[in-house]
Subunit: 344 residues, 2 copies
Amino acid sequence: MTDQRPAKIEDVARAAGVSIMSVSRALRGVEGVSDATRTRITALAEEMGYTPSRLAGSLAQATSTLVAISVPTLFDAVFAEIIGGMRETLAHAGLETILETSDYDTARESAWVERMITWSPAALVLSGVDHSPAVRARLRGAGLPVLELWDVTDDPIDLCVGIDHRAVGQDMGEHLLRLGYRAPAYIGIPPGRDPRAEKRLAGLMVAFAGAGIDVQVIRVDAAPSFEAGRDGTMDVLRQPERPDVVCYLNDHLAFGGAMACEAAGVDVPDQIGIAGFNGLNINNVLPRRLTTAVTPRALMGKTAARLLVAAIRGVRTDRRIAMPVPIHAGATTLPRLTVRGPAA
Amino acid sequence: MTDQRPAKIEDVARAAGVSIMSVSRALRGVEGVSDATRTRITALAEEMGYTPSRLAGSLAQATSTLVAISVPTLFDAVFAEIIGGMRETLAHAGLETILETSDYDTARESAWVERMITWSPAALVLSGVDHSPAVRARLRGAGLPVLELWDVTDDPIDLCVGIDHRAVGQDMGEHLLRLGYRAPAYIGIPPGRDPRAEKRLAGLMVAFAGAGIDVQVIRVDAAPSFEAGRDGTMDVLRQPERPDVVCYLNDHLAFGGAMACEAAGVDVPDQIGIAGFNGLNINNVLPRRLTTAVTPRALMGKTAARLLVAAIRGVRTDRRIAMPVPIHAGATTLPRLTVRGPAA
DNA sequence: ATGTTTTTTGTTATCGATAACGTAGACCTT
DNA sequence: AAGGTCTACGTTATCGATAACAAAAAACAT
């Protein structure tokens, strides 16, 4: 009773008494088959448990239902959540996800692109917008939708959906300035590892530079983790001249920083302000919520997937979507009484 | 100069003045080609930028380099980290990851299996060990390595790598008993959504039942999140008879619970104990570290991937690996002075 | 009724590889 | 030197579909 070997299109064709092509057309919803025949074939295929070989189909069509996605890591919830957000929409459109984790090694990117192209994917998704000219050229000529994720640029390879990291950094800087902070510090990891973080830092510095203020930059040589934030903060607290607010690479570091302050008996936000980035869910239950910029991770994934699906279907859409990143004014920062005369 | 269309095996063959088969053999490292010819072909292929079409190759060989993995969600760091752990080993073995997120919808599993089989994957990975008899039978007959992840069973479809959730629950229960807790509660989500959580709860109840103690079970109808833990805990704290310790579905809920206690002015661990599950990284920086069971997520992924690679290569190994889950005695629980006479 | 469209269906070539089998020399044997 | 075994390649069939073209059947027109 159980079909030993899976039914192939030929079996269905024979059973239905039609040619292979009719089955192919009927099942793909392509025109060229009468309704009666199509109904009969569809029912029969269902009954026989026939599923078309995507391998053969993709080879013949020179395109597959695979969407190849490359992210730096899955250990950072940001990327996991973005992909999670994409999944539903992709699945709905009948697209499979083939996943690469590059571990922030840009050298692997080029090899990955070549490898993926041999799978004739429906589309390619890369993280970030900083890619080698070779990769950009290669992908532009590949004739398939390419989406850059998590960051935006005016000159994407094809499509991009993300946030403007520089602007976010600047927004945060201006927010802190408005609160009255005048001695900011930034705690992150060494440059070169996370280009997006550097852009946020640049934006932050621009904002403060507008008021003639320098940002003290501290870099912890470690993974961007809770611990890095804690350790960097402990160093900062030991300094003779303490900053009045610390911006962190992300919420992980910021939370670690908050814990360091608590351990050191430094009151947040009275003695020092803390600002993060991402708006992790944990923030919803903290007694003292982090001041942070809330990135719409799941929504970003969904938006990216929608754009991709449209592009795959040949629909032209926006090429660039910069998602809003609201600043969440939490309880780890507080309006300061500034030295210069209080307005009103 | 730039190759418009990618080189195919035929181009390499022509360029090398040999047959297609010789190129195929040379590049795959299969015997049947002289060293001289092989060297020449390899160099030429490299130079021409030839990459074999995995689509065509897989179709012809009836097997691909794809490893299909199904997890419930990527919004739970557990699964993201397990996959992250698998990736490196898989990538090293030249295997691609094709990812499905089922959103805990078991009905989708069967369809997914059928779909994946048409890709002729090198192996299949499912989450959990509770699968329909139909799926089990189908996969057993599929003739490819199948690995069940995150949970273990004595009768896996093929291979399984995970943890013994029931045993972990029991371990935690015994640990708490040993500390002197006698009025335990459990806060989780409604049954049926997360089979593993139910197993842990069952183990917990067994442990306490051994001492003639019932576990009060509270279920919050929500996603397993920080908020669920907080809300469930607020309910518990309002009860006239308060438990002396609360076990949570996982660290997320436990952390939410801890926050609820703090907000309610209930001291942890003096007035109430808290125990979680997973050992999230955040625990490393908390001033009062959670008592929890530390699941080796990344290592589990790596172990699973290794087993899989071995199986794909035809090497027989252990069929079942239950990873140790040490109980981390944190600061959210404390030895209680029990009513019965203090020993020593 | 007969030619012209339009629809439906079938044939053949192709996608880019690999498996299985075939063949020509090189190298032994005795 | 005839026969046998290896080694190195080449030929042909096949994997399971789809594209492009061709033919047959049905619908329409005059």
